[in-house]
Symmetry: C2
C-alpha cells in the first residue's frame, strides 16, 4: 500500500491546475450568528463537473503515461467520481467506462454521458457494484481509478485543503463529509503536513455511520448498502483511507436525515448555494454541536452541487 505524500499533493496541484477551478470561499453572517463560529465555506459545488472529485480524477488521468492512457480509464461510483473521471478523460481525449448504481440521480447519469462517459448500471450495493465492475474492467482493460482508495485520487483531493488554507487567515478546524474517505484523507494529508495544529473533523449521516463506528472500534466496519439521502456517502472506508482516518482525524460526528435536509435547505435559502445533501452533513453536525465550534474558525468543505432539481428532499 503506497501512502501518498505531501510532495504528491504538490505535484498534483501543478498537474491539475489547468483543468480545475480554484473555488471561492463564501461566508454567512447569519450562520456565524446561529452557530457562534466563524465558518468558511469552500465551494467545491462551483468546481468543474460540479464536485471536488474532479481534483483526484484529473490527477489520475493526467498522470498516466501515453501508453496507459491509450487504454482509457474505468471506475465505479455513486455519481460525482463518475462525472469527474468522464470530464478528465474527455479533456485528455481517452475512453472512460463507469459502473453506476441504477438508483443514482438522473442528473448525474445525464452529466456523465454529456462528458462522454460510458455507463454500465449495477444494483445499489457494494457487492453488486464490485461484481459488475470486474466484468467491465476485464472487457475494456482500462486503468482503474478507484473513487477514493487510490493514492493519486487522495493526492488530488488534498489540493482542496491547500487552497482553503491559502484563502483563509488561519483555521482551528476543517470539516468535510465522509463516505469512502477520499476527501477526508486528502484533507488529513495536507493538514497533517502543512498545518498540523488544525483539527480534521469528519461528518457522517447517522444512517450510514460505518466510519463513525470504525473510528470507535479501531478497525474498518463496512456496511453493504446503507440508506441515506446523502447519496455520495453510502460507500465504506478502505485500507488507504482508513490509514488517514485512523491516524489523523480528530473526531467523527453524525447527523440524522432530518438534520441533514434542514441544513441543506438552510444553505440554499441563506447562502443561495445549490449543494448536495452530502455537502450539508458538516453544517448539520455544527448546528447540532454548537458548543464544540463556538468561537472557532472552521473551514467547511461544500463537496458538490450535482442535485436532481426535480427531486428536492424537502418537497417529498
Amino acid at each position: 500500500m503506497y501512502i501518498p505524500t505531501f510532495d504528491d499533493m504538490l505535484a498534483a496541484q501543478a498537474r491539475i491546475q489547468p483543468h480545475i477551478h480554484c473555488t471561492p470561499i463564501l461566508t454567512s453572517s447569519y450562520l456565524n450568528d446561529l452557530t457562534g463560529a466563524k465558518l468558511f465555506f469552500k465551494c467545491e459545488n462551483f468546481q468543474k463537473a460540479g464536485a471536488f472529485k474532479v481534483r483526484g480524477a484529473s490527477n489520475a488521468v493526467f498522470g498516466l503515461s501515453q501508453e496507459d492512457a491509450a487504454k482509457g480509464v474505468c471506475t465505479h461510483s455513486s455519481g460525482n467520481h463518475a462525472l469527474s473521471l468522464s470530464y478528465a478523460a474527455g479533456r485528455r481525449g481517452i475512453p472512460c467506462n463507469v459502473v453506476m448504481p441504477r438508483t443514482a440521480p438522473q442528473a448525474k447519469k445525464d452529466a456523465v454521458r454529456g462528458y462522454g462517459g460510458i455507463i454500465t448500471e449495477c444494483e445499489p450495493s457494494t457487492t453488486s457494484r464490485e461484481g459488475v465492475f470486474a466484468e467491465v474492467q476485464a472487457a475494456t482493460g482500462g486503468n482503474f481509478v478507484h473513487p477514493y482508495n487510490d493514492p493519486r485520487v487522495i493526492a488530488g483531493q488534498a489540493t482542496c485543503s491547500r487552497e482553503l488554507l491559502e484563502q483563509t487567515d488561519g483555521l482551528d478546524m476543517v470539516l468535510a463529509p465522509i463516505g469512502g474517505g477520499g476527501m477526508i484523507s486528502g484533507t488529513c494529508l495536507t493538514l497533517s503536513n502543512h498545518a498540523p495544529e488544525v483539527q480534521v473533523i469528519a461528518a457522517e449521516p447517522e444512517q450510514a455511520d460505518d466510519a463513525y463506528r470504525s473510528f470507535r472500534a479501531g478497525q474498518i466496519i463496512a456496511d453493504d448498502a446503507p440508506d441515506t439521502i446523502a447519496d455520495g456517502l453510502r460507500v465504506p472506508l478502505k485500507d488507504l483511507t482508513w490509514h488517514f482516518v485512523s491516524n489523523h482525524v480528530t473526531d467523527i460526528l453524525t447527523a440524522s436525515e432530518d438534520e441533514i435536509i434542514d441544513a441543506m435547505k438552510l444553505t440554499w435559502k441563506l447562502m443561495k448555494l445549490v449543494m448536495e445533501a452530502s455537502s450539508a452533513v458538516p453544517l448539520a453536525t455544527i448546528i447540532k454541536n454548537k458548543d464544540r465550534f463556538a468561537g472557532k474558525r472552521v473551514g467547511v468543505i461544500i463537496t458538490g452541487g450535482n442535485v436532481d432539481l426535480d427531486l428536492l428532499p424537502w418537497l417529498n
Copy 2:
C-alpha cells in the same frame, strides 16, 4: 426632479461599503459554449439581504442627517426593497416601517421582522396600500424611500456596475432585468459616465413588457397588474427611471414565461446558484438572441436570490 450624478454614485459607494458585499463574478464554460458569448455573472444573489436592493436602501438610510434619521424610514413593498430597507435601518439603529399586503408570503414578513422592520398590513389593492401608507408616514414622520424612483436609490444601485467594471477586463454590454427600472437606471448612470462604449440592454418578461412598449412608444406606458413568474418585475417605470431608460438604454429584449423558467433552472443546475426568476430574464433573452451576443463580452446582473424553496416554478 433631481437626476443623480456620477459623483452621487461615488459618494454612495463610499457610504455603503461597510454595509454591503462586493459580490463575486462567476462564469460558466457550458453557458459560454451554449451562447457563443463570454458571460460574466455579477452575483447579487449573494448580496446582503439576498438582493442588489440593499445598495440603494443603504445609500438612502446612511445618507440621512442625524435629525432625519431619528424619525426613521418608511416604504411600501412586498419584496426585496422591504427586506433591504429593514436591513439598512437595522444597521443604523433607526425605525423602519413597511406597509405590506396582508397576503404577502409569511417568509418575507418573517425576514422583514428578523431585520427589525415594523410591518403594517394593508389589503392587496393600490387604494388600501396608499391609504395605509399615508397614515403610517403621517404617524411616524419617517423618510419615504421609494423602491426605485428615488435618486438616492438609483445612485446606490449604480455601485453594482461600478464593481462589475472593476472586476472584468472590458465588456461590450451589460444586461439586467427591468421592472421599475432602478437597477437599469443605476447601470446607465455608471456606464454612460464611466464606460459609455458599453451597451446597456434591459431584459423583461413578455407578460410584463410595459418598459419594452414604453421604450418603443417614447413615453411611459404603465400596466395595472401584469402577471409574471418574475415577481420583482411587475412594477411600472416612473419619471426618474424613465429618464435613464429613454436616454441611455440601447435596447429592451423580452422572454416568455417558459424561457425564463428554463433559464432559471439551467442556472441552478449548471452554476449551482439559487436565483430568482427575475434574475433569469437576461440569460433567457441571450439564449433567445444568440446572434446578437456571439463573440461579445457580456456582464449579466443576477439581481437576487430570495426564492420560496417550497414553490419552485418548474415543479408546478
